[in-house]
Symmetry: C2
Subunit: 177 residues, 2 copies
């Protein structure tokens, strides 16, 4: 089974911790296998996401501090493909089929405004979720929903302690541990 991992580049400790937490929650909920936070360790974000996994189940890996260039090169050395989400890239609807058909492990890079130009060259596809100034959290969300063809809505998250039961206007949480 092909893996899909998100690489978060440009994370600054503390200042970006909340947005990076949003990136991780999005990756997890929408079906990615894990997130790598490049270059900077952030044990707070790691702990938050591990706690979510323990409570709500599923398999999801989180690590931080690995250098971005080496991460991308190692991924490509193992025949993985690389998507870089950027407002400058080709339109998602025009390239998603080609990417999905490539069928291998996929590293999805999200970043900030200061993305190194080299990332554009290293990526197999630079993909835009609209060509407007955009949240990387939002771009990742729409990308994953398209790439995994809405499968996250039915994804099982086994071995958690609790499960949310969808309801019309309340908050229902079931104990499953």
């Amino acid at each position: 089974m092909a893996r899909l991992v998100v690489l978060r580049i440009g994370h600054r400790f503390f200042r970006d911790s909340r947005v990076t937490t949003h990136v991780c929650l999005t990756a997890r909920a929408l079906g990615a296998d894990g997130v790598i936070i490049a270059d900077r360790e952030d044990k707070t974000v790691e702990a938050t996401i591990r706690e979510v996994g323990k409570r709500f189940g599923g398999k999801f890996s989180i690590e931080s501090g690995r250098p971005w260039r080496k991460t991308i090169r190692d991924w490509k050395d193992q025949s993985g493909k690389v998507v870089h989400l950027t407002a400058y890239g080709l339109k998602l609807p025009d390239v998603i089929k080609e990417i999905r058909d490539s069928n291998g492990d996929l590293l999805v890079i999200v970043g900030s405004e200061k993305m190194p130009g080299e990332v554009f060259k290293l990526a197999d596809w630079n993909v835009s979720v609209t060509n407007q100034p955009m949240s990387e959290v939002a771009a990742l969300a729409v990308y994953l929903d398209w790439h995994l063809q809405h499968s996250a809505f039915d994804k099982a998250f086994p071995n958690g302690q609790v499960r949310i039961v969808p309801t019309q206007d309340g908050k229902q949480v079931e104990d499953v541990s």
Copy 2:
């Protein structure tokens, strides 16, 4: 033409400014008509979003400081419908058709963990974008993409100064003013 406006509840000045900016950029790029930031004024976020609009074009309204309860009540008094995005709600794929078929003005509420219980009752639909702990930015992104049926990818943003030209591996920006 029906309007779709996003109501951001639970914004705390400064602490939430970056995440709220992500909410606004997402709303704008993915086709909403505007954002109302409830209860707290945030002129910094307002200015950021207005500057994006001036530079990249399109019509998008942004305001902050209006009380959330009154905003929802006024909206409903004018026959508008209300969607509240929450991990506790009914699954998006199960309700999106009904919401789209309602065809009127739509207020889409996004918030934080501390959403008042009353919002669940005031909403016409409580909708989940997965029943997992989730980023409100990501939930909004996927919701808008579904609701507007991917039309944002071809949306025109007239009267801007620049336009991003999608390219394979570079950054191309065209002057259009």
